[in-house]
């Protein structure tokens, strides 16, 4: 019997019990569309996390003082004092793979402007900081190398700080008091939004690092050095150069551990991606349980069908159908059920993901992979759950089948 004829007769057999066939398919439809939608949500989350991390600048390296934490124990007391301004200058001078560098200091505190106040963090940075972060000024000016040398009391406000301290007027050229030290506001940064960890990146004040060290933190060393590599592919080279330079400058013996830590955004991205991938797998696994239940539904209905059509099987055998003809017939019926369900499920899944996107403002991404996966899954389910009933039919004794009432 030709495959096309078998497929046609399978369609007709399923048409005879439209309601039953539809309900059986519904199991697969729900399963497949759930898998598609869950994968779309998971992959959408993964994509937006990656986007946010890329927005930080992927060729950025952070150099921190102190050794990497190992099993929660930091090695060496006073390890946080190891990164100096001279180190930063040496990096900028000697590392060829480094494009921009910004020493970093840090202070937190209450900020007062007129009768308003706001608690925020003050980052002391170099003049290239905005180049590294690729973060433009919205209005006003950034401070200059001259301001850094002279440790001028100027600052740049993040959007959130500006909105809270100067809700009505332009903050430029106004004076604010950070921990009772007066600073002149030179400019306001553009809005950057939340970072991958959900922190508001605009809730910040930038000032020359020299000023922060001398006037606010009173801590002579750097809290971090922010570095950008000349290009994305130079990031490893930059990391190696900085590491070698700092080890030499700090006179670290070959068998001793670093007293600094270099971190790049790729590591962060990898961690965040791994987290969202776990989420995707979790969602898809839950959804595939319903696909499994749908498959059992197919097996159930095919078993009923074989029993109901025992006589038909007997007739077909008596006029020359071989066991494998009967097997193929019922297997293809199960396959048609699961494939129709699968295709409908893919359509529902795609539409459903779009609806979730537009209602919940949640990014969803449907990849060819998730469609191929669900399609393959429905074929596999058709064959797997259709095989037992089909075999049962094929193994019937023609005489008994003919006599079956």
């Amino acid at each position: 019997m030709k495959i096309l004829n078998i497929v046609l007769s399978a369609f007709r057999a399923l048409q005879r019990n439209k309601m039953r066939s539809f309900l059986t398919m519904l199991g697969i439809i729900i399963g497949v569309s759930a898998v598609i939608a869950m994968l779309a949500i998971g992959q959408g989350a993964e994509y937006s996390v990656k986007q946010q991390i890329a927005a930080l600048g992927t060729n950025v390296l952070m150099v921190y003082p102190g050794a990497q934490q190992q099993a929660g124990v930091r090695s060496g007391a006073g390890s946080a004092t190891t990164l100096t301004e001279d180190d930063a200058l040496a990096i900028s001078r000697e590392c060829s793979a480094v494009q921009y560098i910004s020493p970093g200091a840090f202070a937190g505190g209450q900020v007062i402007a007129g009768n308003l106040n706001w608690s925020t963090s003050v980052q002391g940075v170099g003049s290239d900081y905005l180049e590294i972060r690729q973060w433009p000024i919205e209005y006003g000016d950034f401070f200059t190398d001259q301001d850094i040398k002279a440790a001028t009391k100027v600052c740049i406000l993040g959007k959130t700080v500006a909105d809270n301290l100067f809700p009505d007027a332009s903050p430029v050229d106004q004076t604010i008091r950070i921990r009772s030290v007066p600073f002149k506001v030179a400019g306001v940064l553009t809005k950057k939004g939340q970072n991958a960890m959900g922190q508001d990146q605009d809730d910040v004040i930038l000032a020359p690092y020299t000023t922060v060290i001398r006037r606010l933190s009173h801590w002579p060393n750097l809290r971090f050095v922010l570095v950008s590599a000349t290009s994305l592919k130079d990031i490893t080279a930059a990391q190696t150069q900085i590491s070698e330079l700092l080890r030499m400058r700090h006179k670290i013996q070959p068998y001793d551990a670093d007293d600094f830590t270099i971190r790049n955004q790729t590591d962060l991205a990898a961690t965040a991606t791994a987290t969202t991938q776990v989420l995707t797998i979790l969602l898809a696994s839950i959804a595939s349980v319903s696909l499994l239940v749908g498959g059992i539904g197919i097996m159930n209905i095919m078993l009923v069908s074989v029993t109901e059509r025992t006589r038909e099987i007997g007739i077909r055998m008596s006029i020359g159908a071989r066991a494998r003809d009967i097997l193929t017939q019922f297997l293809i019926e199960a396959l048609v059920l699961s494939l129709l369900g699968g295709i409908t499920g893919i359509i529902f899944g795609v539409v459903g993901s779009r609806v979730i996107s537009s209602i919940a403002k949640w990014p969803t991404i449907i990849t060819a992979f998730s469609i191929i996966l669900s399609f393959g899954f429905s074929i596999a389910i058709g064959i797997f759950f259709g095989f037992y009933p089909a075999r049962k039919a094929a193994m019937l004794n023609p005489i008994d089948a003919l006599r079956y009432e």
């Binding site: 019997m1 005879r16 008596s318 006029i319 020359g320 066991a323 005489i399 003919l402």
Partner: protein, 262 residues
Amino acid sequence: MRSTLPASSVSSNGALIQIDHLTKVYQLGEVDVHALRGVSVNVLKGEFVAIMGASGSGKSTFMNILGCLDKPTKGSYILEGIDVGKLSRDELAMIRNKKIGFVFQGFNLLSRTSALENVELPLFYGPTSNKARKEKATVALERVGLGDRTHHYPNQLSGGQQQRVAIARSLVNDPSIILADEPTGNLDSRTSVEVMGIFQELNNNGITIILVTHEPDIAQFAKRHIVFRDGKIRSDKINSNPKTASEVIKQLPMIDDEEEAA
């Protein structure tokens, strides 16, 4: 896909069917049931044989073996030179498809499937092309006088018409024999005679027919009578003066709505 059958060579004595010391033993739990106890018979091409006997006489078992639905326990069954007892399940299916046409008491048509498609069914399991299949099925339906009912469903046809569809289905693959198992058992007497008329007509055109019946009236249309009892052949006689269905039907009273009854 299908292996070819061994070349058929009708044996020297010209018999279509050669059955030699056939026995069949069923095991029902602990008990052995001897359904056939050594049956030997030859059937020639073009014969019209009626097999008779009470229920339990072994005639149904004999028919199942003749129809290659069952295998003998002992003895040999040679159909057109092929030793059927040695064939596999798939080869038996092929024999049923190519060489045997079945007509059953309960018609055994597929419901919700048109007359034409029912007749086409045996050809689905062979190499026939879609076009040739339709043509052959139409010709077979015309042969049994149902050329105008090709697209009717079994539930739209009377019992007699359904049995004629079944006969067309048995004919469609040009079989060596037609096996009819109580073909008139579910039909009234007038329709029974009509159906026997069709068998006689096919037989006159050279088709070998083996008919199982327990009605002596029906057996009268056959040319040879084989009577079974207790798993053995009790008598095997030529019916020197078979009735002709077309003549019998003239003597029957006319029933108006007979053809319309489902």
